[in-house]
Symmetry: C2
Subunit: 262 residues, 2 copies
């Protein structure tokens, strides 16, 4: 198969997988409806996390038996190499939203071919919103092309999303928040990436994200004209945890020039 | 008309009004689609704010010609008395979300009879979610009764929503956020009230809300078992701006006992 055939096949696999994953999650919510204690709620997310990742692995064996998979649930097998075809999955991104709110969480899946992010999917399960990006071919929301982000909007015309731990690392970000149109916090990295990628906020800054938190979102956001890097400006590799920023180009430049300094 | 007849009539009025308001907003978004500059975007919200409030006033004249109305747009007529039948409206709560995101904003309308909040509606326009509360008769979401909030959940089992200015007023809230399951910020007071009222967060704390920001939400949240007051613990009157907290009962007690102290 050439790359385009792989990606076409990957889309078919993801469509089937996500329908089954959504059904499983909805059934789990119905069963859990009356559970009140924290430990029970945590058991639920562990169970769903593991189930979704195992389900994905079954699909992958069927569609692409030679591909590797790395995810949150088998994080003990750290991603050591991106050689060949590597899938990176976060079965439930936004765990606390999943447990506490039953919304604002996502399934995030990306395909990297020899280290290059070629195909990424972020699926907002509760909203039934499917974001898809393909390197060099743009990004879609529920099949409709998403408009590229503004080149002209800066910090003062934008909402910002920033974890408190990112603000602690770079205290000048407080000033950026003050001059911006305000702070928002949604609690699910991949969906916060999508808020920026669809132009609804100027930037999202986070202190400590795992590769599977950003693998798919980064592909989609870059296709839409966003800049993605570590808070230090370094490139994000998919082998390590670390800080992360996704921003509109002008917002990125302003944050780097004035606020991401110690 | 007795009180029940007034409220039945009020529901009919709101149903008609909200359909027309939603249509107007959707048309405005289509027209605005390509506007990029901040001033143009601000003009849009001013125009829509004024239109929605004028539209409501027209409906009120038709359904309840003797009732008074107070809202954000005629705030120069400060609410001086709650005698008789008084409607309190926020035509667009979450102005910045409206402008920047085209979602997560709400129309908020309440009916107070001789100072008592009898009927409140919060309408999440983008989601088409209609929250309705009636004093002594519970609250509904899209016509379905909403379950009362938990009596047992405390801060450490809850997400918290808190404006940074509330944290500045009561710095010990930082510690509450640390022991909680995390901080969220959505940027529209009435919808943040609804996140707590539907049990998706333990509390929402804000430094400076106007009566029309809370008039309807307070009725709905209290019907679902939440506690609403100023951050100081004082009752909220509908004549003045001020701080505000809405919380699950146990979360409220814990915040008041340990974190809402200077």
């Amino acid at each position: 198969m050439d790359k385009q055939e792989v990606i076409q096949q990957a889309k078919r696999m993801m469509d089937e997988f996500l329908i089954e994953a959504k059904q499983y999650i909805e059934t789990s919510f119905e069963k859990e409806l009356r559970i009140e204690t924290k430990s029970n709620r945590n058991d639920l997310v562990t169970e769903v996390d593991q189930y979704i990742e195992a389900l994905f692995t079954r699909y992958l064996k069927q569609f692409f038996p030679t591909h590797k998979v790395f995810g949150e649930e088998n994080a003990e097998h750290k991603i050591e190499s991106l050689d060949g075809a590597v899938w990176i999955i976060d079965p439930i991104d936004g765990t606390l939203n999943f447990v506490e709110q039953k919304r604002d969480f996502a399934i995030s899946v990306a395909l990297y071919l020899d280290g290059i992010g070629e195909f990424g999917v972020v699926y907002d399960v509760a909203k039934d919103d499917l974001y898809r990006g393909e390197k060099g071919r743009g990004a879609t929301l529920n099949g409709q092309p998403i408009q590229k982000v503004s080149q002209k909007r800066g910090v003062e015309n934008s909402l910002l999303i920033a974890n408190l731990s990112a603000v602690k690392l770079y205290p000048k970000l407080k000033e950026a928040i003050r001059v911006s149109r305000g702070l928002r916090l949604y609690g699910a990295a991949s969906l916060e990436f999508m808020v920026v990628a669809t132009g609804r906020a100027g930037a999202y800054l986070a202190a400590n994200l795992a590769p599977w938190d950003v693998a798919a979102s980064k592909i989609i956001a870059e296709e839409l004209g966003c800049i993605v890097s570590r808070l230090s400006g370094e490139k994000i590799d998919m082998l390590h945890k670390g800080t992360s920023i996704v921003a509109l180009p002008k917002v990125y430049q302003e944050l780097r020039d004035s606020y991401l300094r110690k």
